[in-house]
């Protein structure tokens, strides 16, 4: 279904939702499974318009729930279609049953997530808990911090997930509102570039009446472990593919991303923030301000959490004295009794011989912005720890403490 006809490279001002929709269009998806929930709805709205006005030739299926959305996606992908779907918040949760079957049957479905805080109460604000709760289901997962990165991540995720060495589904996440509804300049590529970058999807064993195969058969218990092992292998093997694809993306489109972490002003930093997603943008400003005051603070932004770049995180964070993990997610009763990122960071650092002190900041919860003065506050906390040389309070609820 080649429909993006000879589009020329151009820069447009669009928000994250539309950037995701544009990426789907450029990826020339075959099937779109839609079910509305704020804030990602705008993506499906944009795609509906594209299909309606002939810009995109795809099956646009309005499901009756997120569970159906993902079921449709699973079936469509099994038949060999490139599939795009998405959701937010509790919608992500409602489809939970399908995450393991889709990755287990190795169907590279792509799902766009515009984060939304989980109920209760109803809250449209961004919090990463919705997608993060599925982080171990075998999906590739990472956060963008602006519309351009979202666009790019969507294209790269298709390329990675559909690679025959990988064949895994992808969750391409962006913060609700902070990315999904904030417009920014997005460079849309030349269709020829996309064609060069992203070959057509070809599953090796699609459902096809001319070549019948069985998908998802019932197996004996002893046949389970080899399948799990192979899924684990695929997840690990994807790391090399992810790096390759980022290189190639840079060559074709001219934008180079570190696939794992973005480091900002870390060269001589002693304390750093560690976070995912949109708050990285505010963090950069805050760090610049604090640098002007002579504080040795920097930012490490995790771009891909699944597969988790354990060794890279260890290597990067070992350079610093204190790491402040900004969670933006709920991990009730977790390691830090804060969010779930803290545990991931600490585990990566455990084998380091130069372990920094690690703090967990509960900030950006419920979709609240993390304002500059909160970054200053958190920097102070980190520097106190650095001075003291030990942690007295592991987790801080930012905005609720002096």
């Amino acid at each position: 279904m080649a429909t993006v006809s000879a589009a020329k490279k151009k820069t447009v001002r669009i928000n994250g939702c539309v950037a995701a929709a544009q990426a789907a269009k450029y990826a020339d998806v075959d099937v779109i499974a839609a079910y509305p929930i704020r804030p990602y709805t705008a993506t499906m709205m944009a795609l509906a318009q594209m299909v309606a006005n002939g810009e995109l030739d795809a099956e646009y299926i309005v499901a009756d729930s997120e569970h159906s959305q993902l079921s449709i996606s699973h079936g469509a992908s099994s038949s060999g279609a490139r599939v795009f779907t998405g959701s937010s918040g509790v919608g992500v949760q409602f489809a939970y049953e399908l995450y393991s079957p889709i990755s287990g049957s190795r169907m590279p479905v792509q799902m766009m997530i515009a984060d939304r805080t989980l109920d209760p109460p109803g809250d449209f604000g961004s919090e990463h808990t919705d997608a993060l709760s599925t982080r171990d289901m075998g999906w590739l997962m990472g956060w963008s911090c602006d519309a351009q990165e979202a666009f790019d991540n969507h294209l790269m995720a298709y390329r990675i997930g559909e690679d025959p060495r990988v064949l895994l589904p992808q969750m391409v996440c962006q913060d609700g509102f902070f990315v999904s509804h904030i417009t920014g300049d997005v460079e849309l590529p030349d269709s020829g570039q996309v064609k060069e970058f992203l070959p057509p999807y070809k599953h090796p064993y699609p459902l096809d009446p001319r070549h019948p195969v069985s998908h998802g058969p019932q197996i004996m218990p002893e046949q389970g472990p080899p399948l799990q092992l192979e899924r684990a292998r695929a997840m690990e093997d994807s790391m090399a593919v992810i790096e390759e694809v980022h290189d190639e993306f840079a060559k074709i489109f001219g934008r180079r991303y570190d696939p794992w972490v973005e480091e900002f002003m870390t060269d001589d930093a002693e304390v750093v923030f560690f976070l995912q997603g949109a708050h990285g943008v505010t963090a950069r400003f805050a760090i610049q301000h604090m640098r002007e005051k002579g504080l040795k603070v920097g930012l490490v932004r995790l771009r891909t959490i699944r597969p988790y770049p354990t060794d890279r995180v260890k290597e990067v964070l070992s350079k610093f004295k204190v790491v402040g993990v900004i969670e933006t997610n709920m991990g009730l009763g977790s390691v830090s009794s804060g969010g779930v990122l803290y545990g991931e960071v600490c585990a990566a650092l455990y084998e380091s011989d130069r372990r920094p002190l690690v703090l967990s900041f509960m900030a950006g919860m419920g979709g609240e912005a993390i304002v500059l003065k909160e970054f200053y506050w958190m920097t102070e906390k980190m520097m106190e720890v650095q001075k003291r040389g030990k942690i007295e309070k592991r987790t801080h609820w930012v905005g609720f403490e002096d």
């Binding site: 287990g104 019948p212 069985s214 058969p217 002893e222 046949q223 080899p226 399948l227 192979e230």
Partner: protein, 610 residues
């Protein structure tokens, strides 16, 4: 890297993501057969219906009833003829153990199997050429001594196997007990004559008026034939050991019937006749006595009531309808009269132990009864006349000594019928003699071909339990009754008492058959399967098969199988943990068993290109 250095052993090598070729494709079932959803798989496994099991010659009764249902009378006749040379005879005279065993008897009324057999037998009689042909001649000569049921059956089967058979018959007419022991009003002579003709058509030589021991010696038999079947029957009547038994007017049951049957009887009976004995022959004698001019016939039995008599209840009922009286609990102790019988002296008597199987205690202290008669017919059983047999083959009971295959030692002599069955505990019946003759013929053939005789080892699953079938499919329906001549008129004629079934009656009665445990092509499994898992090239018995590639083991076909032919076989052998993939088509003696070889090869066929 957690997966670094991991290895998946060969036996667990898995296709990508478990995606496998469809079960219908090559290697499609190697790792992830759809069948793993199942805990059981349906299997067609034909059981033995109780009628077939009870039949003395194991006629495929369910099989021919099923063919009659479909109007395939000739096929049905041919099927009977595999085991039974003369269905026209047994269709009249058989005491039908099949009907006693019929499962339908526990439900409403047993199938009138004998009447359907007679319908088919008479159809066979009308054929200008029989459906059965002689086997390819193998050059071996067999003598069959005796042309009664056992000899007839053995000769018939041997001719089919290719032997050159000669029947040696003592009497001037062939037929043995069929002719001499069964009255015309049960079995008309012309029916039997036609069956004897069928033997001649098979190339069998029948030599009548040839008596072994007189005209032909043991050594002659040994010299002139490759093998011999002795089916000489029980020819000598037992006596009641009463004084005066040799008086004029005293007859013995079987010779009485035989002389009437052979047309050689000069008997003229008086008005009052007593028949001594309580068995089937005694009943036939009593009823024949009426037809030979007697006015009052009384049966004198040691048995103390009718239920104890070793006789067919139907025949007893028909006899009583014709007006014969019963006098129970007496033994004849003396035949009174001056040269000619005038009366019987009776003393109370009873069996000392089991009924009909223990010595009789006669109470000679009691006051004797004087029972006035003009004639007496003594019918208390028969014994063998085998003086010509070498002593080594005689038993203490005066019968022929055989092994369990009917063979006399290591000789090529075999024996069959009443001569070997008497005293075995088996009731002496035509059909049992026929079965005996058949089995002995097959055993003889094995010996001739140098094969060893082995007892049967395949377990037989006879389906007795109605719970193994789905009775909701069988509405209650009464048995079709055979019409009979009215008692008053029939007691004076030689006309057949029991009337044949019409075609409609035969079909109606065959339709009542449950087909216990056996596929009868009802199509139910084919219709109820929620998936297209049941295939059949045609709607025909034994042609149904389960496409195990698609079967989910839902059991619907098994539950809904009216006859209990389908059963569930566990998919997993829980003792060994081995998945059984070879149980789709159980090898059993039934119709599906016959298909098994073909069905087993299904998997080798090339996959369909969809």
């Amino acid at each position: 890297m957690s997966t670094k250095g991991t290895k998946i052993p060969d036996r667990l090598q898995i296709p990508f993501a478990g995606i496998t070729p469809a079960p219908s494709q090559e290697k499609g079932q190697d790792l992830f057969p759809t069948g793993n959803w199942r805990s059981i798989r349906p299997v067609y496994r034909d059981k033995l219906p109780p009628c077939n099991n009870a039949c003395g010659t194991n006629e495929k009764i369910q099989g021919y009833l099923d063919l009659v249902k479909r109007g395939k009378y000739l096929d049905a006749y041919a099927l009977i003829k595999e085991d039974m040379p003369f269905p026209s005879v047994t269709g009249r005279v058989c005491y039908h153990p099949c009907e006693q065993a019929c499962n339908r008897g526990k439900y409403d009324e047993a199938i009138s199997i004998r009447a359907v057999e007679r319908f088919l037998g008479d159809l066979g009689q009308a054929l200008t050429r029989d459906v059965v042909t002689a086997g390819k001649p193998n050059g071996k000569k067999v003598a069959v001594v005796g042309s009664g049921p056992a000899g007839h059956s053995a000769a018939y089967q041997l001719a089919r196997l290719g032997y050159q058979v000669t029947i040696l018959e003592k009497s001037p007419k062939a037929g043995g007990l069929n002719r001499g022991g069964i009255p015309d009003w049960v079995l008309p002579q012309d029916v039997l004559d036609r069956e004897i003709e069928r033997l001649v058509e098979l190339g069998i030589t029948i030599k009548t008026s040839v008596e072994v021991g007189k005209d032909v010696s043991w050594d002659d038999l040994k010299k002139d034939y490759d093998a011999v079947v002795l089916a000489v029957g029980l020819t000598e009547p037992n006596s009641v050991r009463a004084e005066g038994e040799n008086k004029e007017g005293v007859f013995y049951g079987l010779p009485f019937l035989r002389d009437v049957g052979m047309g050689a009887s000069k008997v003229k009976l008086g008005a009052r006749v007593a028949v001594v004995g309580g068995g089937n022959t005694a009943i036939d004698c009593a009823r024949e006595a009426l037809r030979q001019g007697a006015i009052e016939v009384t049966m004198i039995t040691v048995e103390s009531n009718a239920a104890e008599m070793p006789a067919s209840p139907e025949d007893l009922h028909d006899m009583l309808e014709e007006g014969v009286e019963l006098q129970h609990g007496y033994a004849v102790t003396e035949v009174l009269g001056n040269g000619r019988v005038e009366a019987l002296q009776l003393h109370p008597a009873r069996f000392s132990g089991a009924i009909n199987a223990s010595p009789i205690n006669v109470d000679r202290e009691a006051k004797p009864e004087r029972f006035h008669v003009d004639n007496v017919i003594i019918a208390v059983g028969q014994r063998a006349a085998i003086g010509w047999l070498p002593n080594e083959f005689k038993t203490e009971r005066g019968t022929i000594k055989i092994d369990r295959f009917g063979r006399l030692g290591n000789t090529n002599f075999f024996a069959a019928g009443d001569i070997v069955q008497v005293g075995s505990g088996q009731p002496l019946m035509v059909v049992n003699a026929v079965g005996d003759g058949k089995r002995v013929a097959f055993n003889l053939d094995k010996v001739m071909r140098g094969e060893s005789l082995e007892p049967r080892t395949i377990p037989v699953d006879v389906i007795f339990d109605l719970n193994r079938m789905n009775m909701t499919y069988f509405p209650h329906f009464p048995r079709v009754q055979q019409e009979m001549l009215p008692p008053n008129s029939r007691r004076k004629t030689q006309q057949e008492v029991i009337q044949p079934f019409s075609e409609e009656q035969a079909v109606e009665e065959a339709n009542r058959c449950f087909s216990c445990g056996t596929c009868n092509a009802c199509d139910n499994c084919y219709l109820v399967c929620p998936e297209p898992c049941i295939a059949r090239p045609a709607r025909s018995n034994g042609l149904y098969k389960i496409l195990v590639d698609y079967c989910k083991g839902c059991r619907v076909c098994i539950e809904e199988c009216p006859t209990g032919c389908l059963e569930g076989v566990p998919e997993l052998d829980f003792d060994t943990g081995v998945v059984r993939m070879d149980t789709a088509f159980a090898i059993s003696p039934g119709l599906h068993g016959r298909q098994a070889e073909e069905l087993k090869k299904l998997g080798e066929r090339a996959a369909k290109n969809i």
